[in-house]
């Protein structure tokens, strides 16, 4: 494995434009926090806490997803279709699995970082939650899962349109439906079961349980991990297909 150069370059690019990176990581989560937490949710209460207490774990998961999937898929897509920088890597002795891993890890760092920032903002604004190292683990897994999905999607996409269609039909619906803003228990069947298909639902449920000081559901851990493995496998296979 020689994944490090790929990871190194992405980190170098982040370090060159730290403010741009910071801003792009923070905009959506803070927007959600303001709209749904402070605006809409003020005075609303859920299961013994404020709506903000309820929504923050979901926003953490969402943020980890958006900031891993988005930048990774865009960057891979552009390097494959427009700048062709991927060809420099493809003619070097770096294998497809290293390429996928380097990209997935850098996406994971981005996703984790933005979730971490949101967590700080949330805590600073008085959100009540139990902190545990497992929260970091779940966020890491979530970010890795969606970063890998980003690599796979970008390798499959044949154009920029394919990529934006994938966003409109998969990522955005998942953002709204996967238990970020409401508890899946509130939905009638079959919708309740249907949204359990989304990996993001399990990330939200796990984080919500941990934040509430409850025992997380082992099945959700397994499902999320299985998705991560599957997406990473798919990413590696898709890179190999063009290599």
């Amino acid at each position: 494995m020689n994944f490090y150069p790929i990871f190194w370059k992405d980190m170098l690019l982040i370090r060159k434009k730290p403010w741009k990176f910071l801003a792009s990581s923070m905009v959506t989560p803070i927007l959600y926090l303001v709209t749904f937490g402070w605006g809409l949710g003020r005075g609303m209460s859920m299961a013994g806490g404020t709506y903000l207490d309820f929504i923050l774990p979901g926003l953490l998961a969402l943020s980890a997803m958006n900031n891993s999937f988005g930048p990774v898929s865009t960057s891979v897509n552009v390097s494959k279709l427009y700048t062709k920088t991927i060809e420099e890597v493809l003619v070097s002795p770096v294998g497809p699995w290293s390429i996928a891993l380097g990209r997935a890890l850098s996406g994971m760092v981005r996703g984790l970082f933005s979730a971490f920032l949101l967590l700080i903002v949330g805590l600073a604004s008085g959100v009540n939650m139990t902190l545990s190292p497992y929260i970091l683990l779940v966020l890491g897994l979530t970010a890795f899962c969606f970063a890998s999905a980003g690599v796979a999607a970008a390798m499959i996409a044949k154009s920029h349109e394919d990529m934006s269609n994938f966003n409109s039909f998969v990522i955005i619906p998942m953002s709204f439906l996967a238990g970020t803003f409401f508890s899946p228990d509130k939905l009638p069947e079959p919708f309740r079961s249907a949204i359990l298909v989304y990996p993001l639902t399990h990330a939200s449920m796990l984080l919500r349980a941990l934040a509430g000081g409850r025992e997380p559901d082992a099945l959700s851990v397994i499902i999320l991990a299985a998705y991560a493995v599957f997406f990473f496998y798919l990413a590696g296979r898709m890179v190999r297909r063009i290599a």
């Binding site: 150069p5 190194w8 690019l13 920088t85 420099e88 493809l90 003619v91």
Partner: protein, 279 residues
């Protein structure tokens, strides 16, 4: 160092490269000369493992591109037609990244970066983002990058396309220096002069096929070294002759204003195909 064996590529119904056979010796500069769409880039992409051949194969430094692509990747340097540098990174960082991709020693990289940036005349600009470079400078950086890991065989696809004459001369100078260092180079071009000036041997390619292979001088000698043309009369066919005197004598018999000039690879191409190369 390079040997192709019936190398073929079809894109659907289009045969882009048709059973091409040639070999390039160690230390040789070999040119693929042909018009747009001849299949030059496709041939290079197959040799550099970016595109899978439809049939046939090739050996690079004794390794098969199909069965041992990893060894092939280790021994080749690729300078593509498209400038695929990282424009947000500096010149030095672009080379550093390339060195890392090729697992060069940490201790080896800085010295090699300096050596190459000096070689291509860009050392003073080492800490600028590539975005600030002109097209000709980017081409030179691309050459430096392709050489970073000291490949034994270098592929250059249209190394001077779109450059002004001065920038082109600069790159020719670099290629000449490389040639003297004993590296093996396969380059493609549709500039006659470039093939003539730089290459030890040239393969003339058209519509996926190699029409002829040889040293520029030999190819030109086949038809005759001198061309006799009637000024302003395109209906009179040009004549190829072996000496200037013969040409002058023949000119007297033509009854029009004549020019006698040296034959070029362009004339060779026209003789072979009936077309101009850059039409």
């Amino acid at each position: 160092m390079i040997k192709t064996i019936n190398l073929t590529k079809n894109f659907g119904p289009l045969a882009a490269v048709k059973a091409v056979n040639f070999s390039v010796e160690k230390g040789e500069v070999f040119g693929l000369l042909g018009p747009n769409g001849a299949g030059k880039t496709t041939t290079i992409r197959m040799l550099t493992t970016l595109t899978l051949p439809s049939s046939g194969t090739a050996l690079i430094a004794g390794r098969d591109i199909l069965t041992d692509p990893l060894s092939v990747k280790k021994s080749i340097g690729v300078i593509p037609q498209m400038l695929n540098l990282d424009i947000d990174l500096t010149l030095a960082e672009n080379l550093e990244y390339h060195g890392r991709l090729h697992r060069m020693d940490r201790a080896d990289r800085p010295g090699r970066i300096e050596e190459l940036l000096r070689f291509v005349g860009l050392w003073e600009k080492r800490d600028l983002p590539v975005e600030h470079l002109s097209g000709g400078m980017r081409r030179r950086l691309l050459i430096a990058r392709g050489l970073m890991h000291r490949p034994a065989v270098v592929f250059m696809d249209e190394p001077t396309v779109g450059l002004d004459p001065q920038a082109r001369r600069l790159i020719w100078g670099l290629i000449d220096d490389l040639k003297r260092s004993g590296i093996t180079i396969l380059l493609t071009t549709h500039y006659i002069e470039e093939a003539d000036e730089l290459c030890d041997r040239v393969a003339i390619m058209r519509q996926g096929k190699i029409m002829t292979i040889g040293a520029p001088e030999d190819l030109k000698a086949v038809s005759g070294r001198y061309v006799l043309e009637c000024l302003g009369r395109h209906d009179v066919p040009r004549q190829f002759l072996h000496s200037r005197d013969e040409a002058l004598d023949a000119g007297k018999a033509m009854g029009c204003d004549v020019v006698v000039r040296d034959v070029t690879l362009e004339d060779v191409f026209i003789e072979l195909t009936g077309e101009r190369i850059d039409a």
